[in-house]
Amino acid sequence: MTHTTTQRRGGATAAGTSLRRSRPRYGERLIVAFLFAAAFLSVLVTAGIVISLAIPTVDFFRTVNIGHFLTGRSWAPLFKPPSFGVLPLVAATIVVTLVAMLVAVPAGLGAATYLSEYASRRFRKVFKPVLEVLAGIPTVVYGFFALTFVTPLIQKIWPFGAPPDVYNMLSAGLVMGVMILPTVASLSEDAMNAVPQALRAGAFALGSTRRQVTTRVVFPAALSGIVSACVLGISRAVGETMIVLIAAGGTPRFTFDPRQGAQTMTAFIAAAGFGDQPTGSTGYKTIFAVGSLLFVLTFIMNIFSIRLVRRYREVYE
């Protein structure tokens, strides 16, 4: 690898090749080796994640039937006898994610569209950092906000039937939606900015209004980028931990009612840190089994999203 780069550079600086051959620069090669090692570390990290997840997970499935794990409706790993049906955790994750996306997708897309198609440069300069600040707020702060502000507010203004519990998936999801909003907004704004100006100009020349240009020209052209932004948003919602840990409660419950509290996959994993589970016990291994499920789910979504972004980049660059 070093060799090829040297040759390529050598070609660019004419006489370079002969100089290098007579006196190879070992110091430079050493530096390149270190730089490569630093970059390759990331592959080792991924390998480390896979190994640290896989070994205890395989062990776990020696004692627990994998079919029971994936289809069981009762999650009680510390009870006697224990029950390892992961569906309650998955259901809670789905409910919270759905609520979050109901907020983040329309609001994020709206904000992105406004910034990309409507806002003046001054407006953008002043208000775009607000989204960046929103993205920089620690999740534990969002959790606090959900528990001490959003939940009481919802309980007070709940219009129909029984109000939500103190710990509920609704407020966790709503606040998580606001947390993800900047992700969706900034990625879809990038996608809309990448749409060539000529397409807009052409549509305007044909007499379209700004709304028509936005919805019929810019949206379709930026669609793959927008979808990729939303998929990345879902992936972040599924992997988000502190908000659900604080605001959605710690009881595994198989329910799709957002007014109730339930434990998500991430909340279960984090909560395992409270108790001191002895290394090697089945209780300790459940962390890794649920972690594997979470990793596989988010991994698929991330790869899908990265692929989509690459594809639309190829179209316009």
Partner: protein
């Protein structure tokens, strides 16, 4: 940062005025503005709410006192010092590794090679892996498992390093890419070696961009709680850390700890700590933005 100026935005000013009465156009624009406003409003409400709630405890006692079983005597000193220790070590590990990887990928890597493409895809994916998964990695490898450090400063710093490394690498790459090719060619033409070119020309020009990326990544690490909670961070620490292998607590974990207590008085302390945490983050972000604007070079 901001998008290139739109030529279309100006010529149709007259058209827009004529169409202002069209309810669908106005409604659509209003809807977009509303969805943008949601973020602004939530941010404002959130800030006001934590300041109002934490106000009674926002005084010097917060910095003087340690966690306590009496809410009226609870403070944040051990958490603040813990955060300083952890972030200090995280920066120590992250900066050389992240910058080195960024230099390799931008300056040396031959994109045609499969292993370089693998590294690249891998970093993109790692940047999107949930933070709690890094907690699992830290638990399995660092706290228990092969290294068996236990829950000490260095375990947390290593875990957070792995967590923010992809972000730092991506930011370094972007900063290095922004340095124009002509500078490299000029340096090489004067007889400098590849490494001399990189270390004396490219890197100094890219420093402001890299520094901005590092500060933003570190501010993410400061607020991160999930992986550390899993590592076993919810312990009662009433002393400041004394070294890399000292037990500790950090601000987000201590905040979580106070939120979870049944007595509502603890929530006031939590809110006060949140204000301090947000102030630290705001300061770091301002420094990053200042760096970006102060040293930005127009090539």
């Amino acid at each position: 940062m901001t998008a290139p100026p739109r030529p279309v935005a100006r010529p149709d000013r007259g058209i827009r005025a004529a169409r202002r009465l069209d309810p669908r156009e106005a409604g659509f624009q209003g809807l977009l503005l509303l969805s943008f406003g949601l973020g602004v409003v939530v941010l404002a409400v959130l800030l006001i709410q934590v300041i109002v709630q934490g106000w009674p405890r926002l005084n010097l006692d917060l910095f003087r006192r340690f966690p306590s079983s009496l809410p009226s005597r609870a403070g944040a000193q051990s958490a603040i010092f813990g955060t300083l220790w952890v972030i200090g070590f995280t920066a120590l590990f992250t900066v050389p590794l992240g910058v080195a990887a960024g230099i390799y990928l931008e300056e040396y890597a031959d994109k045609q090679r499969w292993y370089n493409r693998l590294v690249e895809l891998n970093i993109q994916n790692l940047a999107a892996v949930p933070s709690i998964i890094y907690g699992i990695l830290g638990l399995g490898f660092i706290v228990r498992g092969p290294l068996k450090f236990g829950f000490v400063v260095i375990s947390a710093a290593l875990t957070l390093t792995l967590l923010i490394l992809p972000t730092v690498i991506l930011a370094s790459r972007e900063a290095i890419r922004a340095v124009p090719m002509s500078i490299r060619l000029a340096s090489l033409a004067l007889g400098a070696t590849k490494w001399q070119t990189v270390s004396r020309q490219v890197l100094p020009s890219a420093v402001p961009g890299i520094a901005t990326g590092i500060i933003l990544a570190l501010s993410r690490a400061i607020g991160e709680a999930a992986p550390l909670v899993l590592l076993g961070g919810l312990t009662f620490i009433t002393f400041n850390p004394t070294g890399a292998f000292s037990p500790f607590t950090v601000m987000p974990i201590q905040i979580f700890n106070y939120i979870e207590r049944p007595q509502s008085e603890y929530r006031v302390v939590a809110a006060a700590m949140i204000v301090v945490l947000l102030a630290i983050l705001l300061l770091m972000n301002s420094v990053a933005i200042w760096l970006r604007n102060r040293f930005r070079q127009e090539w």
